[in-house]
């Protein structure tokens, strides 16, 4: 909490207005969240443009881009099958945007005086991404199977007495999906960033009290910070992968109901 020290680990998550865009009677605030979303999107755009030359002998950059596209293509082929190709643009954009937003928020822009903001550490942002995935599942499922889509809640061959128990559980677990999807990404990013700021606060507060205690506390804290930073890079990748993986699993449910796997 704020009164524990001068350094507030939650301050990094504050959404601040940079300037207002007048829009008739209303103003549209342009926040740091919007700014860092644009930074992530532009970085992703530059990365993709640089690697889409389609040379017969790919250079390093093209190999990096093709590594990512191939990775998501394989993920979809393994989880959805032949129909998976159709969802490649969506899942790939989702994965890359989350990955870039996560990594951009971790980069040490503080060294040059900027205040990096992790877009994915806000439930509103991850919630919208999760709702997009959930809507695609609903739309694909209902268009492809019509009302038979609801057989998703009733696994084949279940006896009626058991079905009375299973159907509500399946329904609840289905409806909870967007929340769990959004919550996982948002909490994983938030927790890591708080941890890093708390450890950084240890170093600054202990150095302020004196050189002896400063060295005693800040050396292990800094060592831990280096380790946690490496872990956070891993988490940034894993969370983007898990989001894409679960999205593809949910799309598989919508495409194949319970027939596949």
């Amino acid at each position: 909490m704020a009164q524990a020290g001068k350094i507030d680990p939650m301050h990094q998550f504050e959404v601040q207005t940079i300037f207002n865009i007048p829009l008739g009677d209303h103003v549209l605030p342009f926040t740091n969240s919007a700014l860092w979303m644009i930074v992530a999107a532009v970085a992703l755009f530059v990365f993709m443009i640089g690697g889409m030359k389609q040379q017969a002998i790919p250079g390093r950059w093209q190999m990096a881009v093709e590594g990512f596209t191939g990775f998501i293509d394989k993920l979809l082929a393994a989880n959805i099958g032949h129909e998976g190709r159709k969802y490649l643009p969506y899942v790939f954009s989702l994965f890359m945007f989350i990955l870039f937003a996560n990594v951009v928020g971790l980069l040490p822009f503080g060294l040059i005086g900027l205040h990096p903001f992790t877009v994915t550490s806000h439930f509103t942002v991850t919630g919208v991404l999760a709702i997009a995935s959930f809507s695609i599942v609903l739309i694909v499922g209902l268009f492809k199977h019509g009302l038979r889509f609801f057989s998703l809640f009733a696994p084949k061959g279940t006896p009626i007495p058991v079905l009375l128990l299973v159907a509500p559980i399946e329904f609840v677990s289905f409806m909870v999906r967007p929340f769990s999807l959004a919550l996982r990404l948002f909490v994983a990013m938030t927790a890591g960033h708080i941890l890093l700021k708390v450890l950084a606060g240890f170093i600054i507060n202990s150095t302020a009290t004196g050189a002896g205690i400063g060295v005693l506390v800040s050396v292990p804290s800094f060592a831990l910070m280096v380790g946690v930073s490496a872990l956070e890079m891993l988490v940034a990748g894993v969370q983007a992968y898990v989001f894409a993986l679960l999205t593809s699993l949910y799309i598989n449910d919508a495409v194949h109901l319970h027939d596949h796997h």
């Binding site: 993920l75 996982r184 909490v187 894993v238 898990v242 993986l245 679960l246 699993l249």
Partner: protein, 75 residues
């Protein structure tokens, strides 16, 4: 006891949940490695399933963290 003190105690107790989820996540990877070392040729195909188990186990630990944060900042 004061209401604030009880809140902080609850937030501290929520850390037990985070620790238990750590056991779960460790278990997922340990079981995967055991299986992978016994049959390395089948390991690559099961990586996706491992991450599904990891995501499920991890979510519960993150929920414990959310409970702690809610107790400190919201309740």
């Amino acid at each position: 006891m004061e209401a604030d003190a009880i809140k902080f105690l609850g937030a501290g107790l929520a850390a037990i949940g985070a620790g238990l989820a750590a056991l779960g996540v460790g278990n997922v990877f340990a079981a995967f490695l055991q299986g992978a070392l016994r049959n390395p040729s089948a390991a690559a195909g099961q990586q996706g399933n491992m991450f599904i188990g990891f995501a499920a186990a991890e979510l519960l630990g993150l929920l414990a963290f959310v409970v702690a944060v809610l107790l400190i900042f919201v309740a």
